[in-house]
Amino acid sequence: MAKQSNNRLSSPQELEALRASIIKSRDAQKPCITVCGGTGCHSFGSEGVTDAFKQEIKRQKLGDKIDIKVTGCHGFCEKGPVVVIKPKNIFYQQVKAEDIPEIVSETVVKGKIIDRLLYTDPATGKKITYEHEVPFYKEQKRLVFGSNGLIDPNVIEDYLAIGGYAALAKALAMKPEAVIAEVKKAGLRGRGGGGFPTATKWETCRDAEGDTRYIICNCDEGDPGAFMDRSLMEGNPHSVLEGMVIGAYAIGGHEGYIYVRNEYPLAVKNAQIAIEQAEKLGLLGKNILGSGFDFSVKISRGGGAFVCGESTALMASLEGKVGEPRAKYVHTSEKGLWEQPTNLNNVETWANVPLIIKNGADWYGKIGVQGSQGTKIFSLVGKINNTGLIEVPMGVALKDIIYGIGGGIPDGKKFKAVQTGGPSGGCIPESLLDLPVDFDELNKAGSMMGSGGMIIMDENTCMVDIAKYFVNFLEGESCGKCLPCREGLKRMSQILTDITEGKGREGDIELLERLSATLIDTSLCALGSTAPNPVLTTLRYFRDEYEAHIKDKRCPAGVCKALVTYSIDEEKCPGCGLCVKACPSEAITDMGKKKPVVLDQEKCIKCGACYDVCKLGAVVRK
């Protein structure tokens, strides 16, 4: 690991000289153990794995022969903790502290592969040795996220060694207008939700009247199940920072903020370290790389309100006021933070900027599809084999994500729907699995790209229950300022709860539709106006399920407890007693061998444990 460089760089030439010296000081053939320290791997115990590696390397006195690096998220959270041994990129998964002495002695020292730690491709049953051959990675295009596995986010030299800040040097030699033109030509659209053309926003902000211009990075990711912005900020904060400096230069801003949720302590810490390192090297602060351009960045920690991801609420919060949105008839790019022109972009958007400047708009424009250029990071969660963060070129079909990269649905269950775009997105059914994933196609399907959450649901999901879950989430997160969002979501939640409890009434569907129309038309901000999406898409694609709940008092998926009863088919039950053991509420009584068990409806809590455990079909769900 190179020492932190302390000399301020005063020209692009000095930057390149530093880069060359860092690369020269490193032996590309030296074994380097990278341990993923991302959120998923961390909760699987990656910290213990790292400690064990350090101890073992010390014990075997290999300190000068082996490097160890804790990186940000690699994306394959399902198989954490993930360890990749370079230079060959040997990929070990679900590594435990006890495996470490063997990994060091056998793999790192002798080059032998440990079979049991390899990933098995469920499709072919074959063991896979190298990271780049794992289907989960092979099908991706990891332009923005891929560097996470190569660098220690707290070591700026790592970022410089892979070409970091070269785009900034290039941009500073261009005219600001030319930087904007390049981003415009690339077709970059905001990755935070709305998909607004980034360059248009920059242009408006640059041209707006004001004493100063503020640059903001929105790292207030709050969608349930989404963790891409967090992982990018944790794993590669310099790429975000570099994008921000380039944007600030193009717009003519000198002060910037990273608004990051306080629930993301590692993102806060790594962003702070990155800022300090960049300042020391003169990549941030006064006279950046000797260009005469000044730009400084501060961190503002968010208090955890979902609505603060909305730009005007975020700015209110940044100003120290209650995080509530205001009308955007005058755009924030003209009048934002402290009434000054303000440009806000999402973490992933900023991280795309250096790629565009470095490789050019023509290169970038070839990735993805017309209107949705570039890649998008998604968090693939829910009922999917390969839970994790993925990055794909836009335009890829949903089914390729779910069945290709995602490895399909666990336990041989059937796919039912995918919720894209977070709680304000929509549920897309199986019939639309060929849908190309881009901004416009998702909108047409009634959903949206959002910030890139993708929640997969299997056949055991009740779509009314899912709509209720999202509406309840939004009801809890509505700021309460405007009437339609506050009162409307409360009523929507009441109606959906009634339906799932068997108290649905004729006319409820129409009332939900009328209410949705008013939320869309009249809400003050996008939280309210997009909140009906889960209801409207489930009504559009799964209306029969609503009708079954309301008219037949039946939950087809068997999820809504008030509408489900379990009973024992005495003909089929051999009295094996498996269900008796599985029942957590002692509702089933063993009547002796070869006699059917008896289920007490009074005690039954309708958890379905008996149903799941019985292989003979003797437990009947109605």
């Binding site: 309100a305 205001r326 009308a327 008839y329 009801e475 809890g476 997160e477 509505s478 700021c479 309460g480 300022k481 405007c482 009437l483 339609p484 506050r486 009162e487 409307g488 979501l489 409360k490 009523r491 009441q494 006319g507 009332l511 009328r514 209410l515 129309a517 008013t518 038309d521 009249t522 809400s523 003050l524």
Partner: protein, 239 residues
């Protein structure tokens, strides 16, 4: 001056005027609950929504916040607007089924009953009282606390406020009479939805009647730099 049309009627308004203000100046009715000319616009009740057409694009906007622009075409009523206003009133009526002002406005907009379960509030959370207290009185004794469906009007921590001067502006500005106050003997009582406070009234040195809260008079004397005895007498007994 900016030229625009509202419901086909050509009107002129000063730059920086909102559609709602321009309409009111021309006696064109747009329903609203959370707007008051003395305080900043807020855009919470959404009843004042109108349809605007600009550059060929039609959209619904809150007229209390949207500023007039040259050539703007505004419609204050349409099927879409009426449907939305009715739904908003149904929501308000479910929140405040027993409030007379809400009932009256609902009836005016063609809503007799609500499709939703009935609650029993008076406060519609329009924040007019909060804005008056902050922007006109300048003390910020009350605010809307909690988030979303739990939002409610209160003094900090629901305790007696040590900055409230008992002026009653909050009650005066409330469009639905959800805040009440009364003077009984030497005491003023203010009743907010969640808590109440009492204030000692000042006695006129001449006629002996109680005429205003002592705290309010002290506040005015301090703020305006008046003599300490400026309010010893009630308005009727002053020279």
């Amino acid at each position: 001056m900016v030229k625009l049309t509202i419901n086909g009627q050509k009107i002129q308004a000063e730059e920086g005027t909102t559609i709602l203000e321009a309409a009111q100046d021309n006696n064109i009715y747009i329903p609203s609950l959370c707007h008051h000319e003395e305080v900043s616009a807020y855009g919470a009740c959404r009843l004042c929504l109108v349809e605007v057409t600009k550059n060929g694009r039609e959209r619904l906007v809150a007229s209390c916040l949207y500023e007039v622009t040259e050539g703007l075409k505004v419609k204050t009523d349409s099927e879409r607007i009426a449907a939305n206003r009715k739904m908003l009133m149904e929501l308000l009526l479910a929140r405040c089924p027993n409030n007379k002002a809400v009932q009256d406005l609902a009836r005016k907009l063609g809503v007799e009953k609500t499709s939703f379960k009935l609650d029993d509030n008076d406060c519609i959370l329009c924040a007019l009282c909060v804005r008056v207290c902050q922007e006109v009185v300048g003390v910020s004794a009350i605010s809307l606390v909690n988030r979303g469906v739990d939002r409610t009007l209160a003094t900090p921590y629901f305790e007696d406020s040590n900055v409230c001067i008992g002026c009653g502006s909050c009650a005066y500005v409330c469009p639905v009479d959800a805040i009440k106050f009364e003077d009984v003997g030497d005491t003023r009582h203010i009743y907010w939805p969640n808590n109440k406070m009492e204030f000692k009234l000042k006695k006129c040195q001449k006629c002996g009647r109680y005429f205003a809260p002592q705290a309010q008079l002290d506040y005015i004397i301090k703020k305006a730099g008046l003599a300490p005895d400026a309010f010893d007498n009630c308005p009727d007994c002053r020279d």
